[in-house]
Symmetry: C2
Amino acid sequence: MNDKRVHILDVAEQLFSERGFDGTSVRDIAGQAGVNLAMISYYFGSKEKLLVALIAHRSSYTHGILEELNRDDKLSPWDKIERLVDLYVDKIINNYRFHSIMTTHLPTIQSDDIREMITDIKVKNFELIKKIITEGQQQKIFRKVDMELTVGCVMGTLTQATLSKSLYCRLMHIDIHDEDTYRKKIIPKLKTHLKSLLKAHLEIRN
Amino acid sequence: MNDKRVHILDVAEQLFSERGFDGTSVRDIAGQAGVNLAMISYYFGSKEKLLVALIAHRSSYTHGILEELNRDDKLSPWDKIERLVDLYVDKIINNYRFHSIMTTHLPTIQSDDIREMITDIKVKNFELIKKIITEGQQQKIFRKVDMELTVGCVMGTLTQATLSKSLYCRLMHIDIHDEDTYRKKIIPKLKTHLKSLLKAHLEIRN
DNA sequence: ACAGAAGTTAAACAATCGTTTAAATTAAAC
DNA sequence: GTTTAATTTAAACGATTGTTTAACTTCTGT
């Protein structure tokens, strides 16, 4: 994709995540990106199609990570869970802007098409994680759990770390505007906690 | 508070949760509430002050539930956890519109005052849950866990159930527009799952 | 060098935004 | 019943919204 197009998408991603889709004007994006206002219509057609292009762009970008994990047969179910947590935490926290857009806009989106598109991506991710857990259960290593909410708990914790950043900054005594410090502290914290949580949750108890 | 004011707040809550704050116009609210456009400025001063009034109204409404729980000395830590989950799931899922507004608007809010206000409420809730877990730890009933993320996991799962309703409707084969069926199915599911999860997570293992 | 496509621009479009105005109506106080 | 305050109304305010237009420049292929 064209450099200029990608640059506009990057700027749009930042502004959408900071101010929301409706809180960001096309003029804001054009101004911040240093391009003429009409270029956005010229490239993407409309503001909504710009959002669709952003989702398509980012999804293809992060795609394929989970598939690799699932194809790796040498790993035990426990190893896969650990790798899954590592991959997922890195992926979401390092793309927190995009993740924030996907999460906060999903309920407010009026267009059925876009909502279906976003839901599709989430279902796809869900299926891959489900597969890992199901494998462990078939090998009698994991116990029976609520599949939807076990995945939802992992995703939810990461969403929480993304959307309630102001809360966690307060709790962890980090300046709200210091993005890097927050990411650097929350990533290992999330990995350790989620691994420990899933271990306790999935372990077969006597 | 005046009946008409409350009615406007109810309508605003519904529209804000469906379309977002910036996606809802003052005319939308006035039209849906059946009042004149100027009444909203007359009552609340501005659109932003309307949001502040909504938050104040709803917060006082749900306030005091957790305090009662914490004051009850007859309950064991495990009992408190169970009661906590029951109360929290009911509270958030039954007020999912307000919860959705609080969560999705927190990152996009420009006004420092409003963000601080919302963060304050969340910190308050956090402290109450933290107290329950700390008590159990002091009695050597709960093990040492990451406090922020243990609470974050519970809140995150509920946030997930609120914001990604379209995902869960797909997974649970519920029509996306059938709010009642979704609530009726997700509430017991959430309660069972979160109790089981917290039990495994907090239990001292040998 | 030239023709046609692609890119870029400033200006304007109608529509909608949040808010205010001033007049009209209703309610309350004495 | 009269006066004063509170409520409600339609209309208008200027600003901003997403999008389009038409003229202009740059690039591309021959």
